[in-house]
Symmetry: C2
Subunit: 340 residues, 2 copies
Amino acid sequence: MSLDDRKLEVLRAIVEDYVATQEPVGSKALVERHQLGVSPATVRNDMAVLEEEGYIRQPHTSAGRVPTDRGYRLFVDRLSRVKPLTPAERRAIERFLVGAVDLDDVVHKTVRLLAQLTRQVAVVQYPSLQRSSVRHLELVPISTTRLMLVMIADTGRVEQRLVELPGPTSADDVLELRRRINEKLAGQRLADTPPLVQSLVDESAPAQRLMVASLASVLLETLVERTEERVALAGTANLTRGGVLDFQGTLRPVLEALEEEVILLKLIDAVEPSTTRVRIGDENEIDNLRSASVVSTGYGPGVTILGGLGVLGPTRMDYPGTIATVRAVARYVGDLLAQN
Amino acid sequence: MSLDDRKLEVLRAIVEDYVATQEPVGSKALVERHQLGVSPATVRNDMAVLEEEGYIRQPHTSAGRVPTDRGYRLFVDRLSRVKPLTPAERRAIERFLVGAVDLDDVVHKTVRLLAQLTRQVAVVQYPSLQRSSVRHLELVPISTTRLMLVMIADTGRVEQRLVELPGPTSADDVLELRRRINEKLAGQRLADTPPLVQSLVDESAPAQRLMVASLASVLLETLVERTEERVALAGTANLTRGGVLDFQGTLRPVLEALEEEVILLKLIDAVEPSTTRVRIGDENEIDNLRSASVVSTGYGPGVTILGGLGVLGPTRMDYPGTIATVRAVARYVGDLLAQN
DNA sequence: ACTGGCACTCAGTACAGTCGAGTGCCAGAC
DNA sequence: GTCTGGCACTCGACTGTACTGAGTGCCAGT
């Protein structure tokens, strides 16, 4: 059965009012606040149908209606247009990078900006290594049997790892290796490096092969296997807005989930820039976040994806506004990083 | 007026019971649970005195007593002995570093361990740059007018910054500069570098002086001015233990405070290893944390301080246990970092 | 100096009654 | 067929009252 236009209009009104007031909304209040052109009784009938279809529900008899996850879903998909940003928001975004000196700085400023604008918890992934290229590899001798490997990516990310060598190695050998390694890998996309690293070992003089191999294994780990991407988080204090009502009484599970980097990454994992993903309540795979919604998107110059970012809040959130902000910030950060 | 031994014993009993049960403790329950050897009536008299002196208070008439900040202070200073760690805790600490591959790893594992053992919010500062030495400086050309400066400290910390050059610079010049800069700075303590950096500029050929100067300014910023130390945080979910009772009803202010790195650093700023600082409730300088307590100490090999670490929880916390754990972890991390 | 006894206080709980927002349903109007 | 006004009904929220019991302060007695 399909819903006619007025019923959809009623649903929209319910979502908007509920998001604004955080209180179940009744038929009378609804006709007063919106120009629906019909009487409360009619609205009641519509509500009954909407409830039957699972878009809204009553917390208890003799209370108003509240949208369900499914109701929000319909609202997001068909009933909301993206809200244009206010000039103030626009200005905030443009001003936020003043004095952003390096990648860390950009990411931190971005995540705080996002948290502040949306008044939710914000998550920003560092530019993914998978999608970056090697700019330079540096080998710094720590002792005769230890090296520090430093990898600089074109996105500005810097990763370092300690390498234990199988035996003493001369400074000259290290220098020579450094030259070869850069010759081979600089400019390559990280995803393409594994065979190159292997060839590096194969082409080594027998005397050095062992040493090169131990370096190579750390290198591979750093470049590829250690997919563990980094993320920044801000705005957890926003979880306490709206009292204890959201998140069914306790922040516990939400805070726990936010402590796990793996979970954060799942929340915002790669979506093409220009598309925005909205996960509402139960749609979340993570059990602890069944009472939350996540709005996320990818960022990067043009259509390439460097990483993801997004916000997390109660299902009762201002979806149009949040989506608009997340998109705007993502676009801005993408362009900004493209400049470097 | 001084308190006789039994009154102190009563205070200790109150603190211990309250921490365990989180409920105001009355005179009857007290004599039942502790061998005080006197009757409830006597205890009541003692309580009246303790209350008059400000060590305990009644949430309301006809309720038991609750320790005040002042009461906890006395308890910590004079009534508690450091609780020995359980074997399980001991094992956990010893096992935590398995596979810690670099500094980031060590810090993250430490902060999680600390949060888990104390069941509080844990904060760990990265080894302070101020107290580190330069191991190596690397200059990586990005374009003819841009360099990336990478500084590797002996503690394993790596800092990077982008440098905009005043004009095109050849690769050879960069290499030469790299050599000179390392010759001058490698092995030096960061705090001692400013005059050396200046001399580097002064000794440059006039043609290069401008370029060196711009590098030098970024260098100084990175090494010294940018005192902004890094911290890691874990266990915020622990704030929700004990219901909404702790932190007078709302986590808001606490979560807000924890978002500010500057505040976190203040919480755990340098105390000599081997001393432990305890700040109880109102003793905290930060208004948002007036309902919390912080236990912190410094870590480092021997008596040198590399950084601070600590935990934050409700004033109603298990001080002896927490203090013991914080100390043990600090000592362990200090030794661990000394090995590198 | 300690104790037992006693009157008192007051948060918490349980219960009954009222209020009102909101509903579902139905007969009638358009 | 669709909408509306009317009406009876439900039930959470609030109010007032009464009761309970943990805990107290004080005092007279040992």
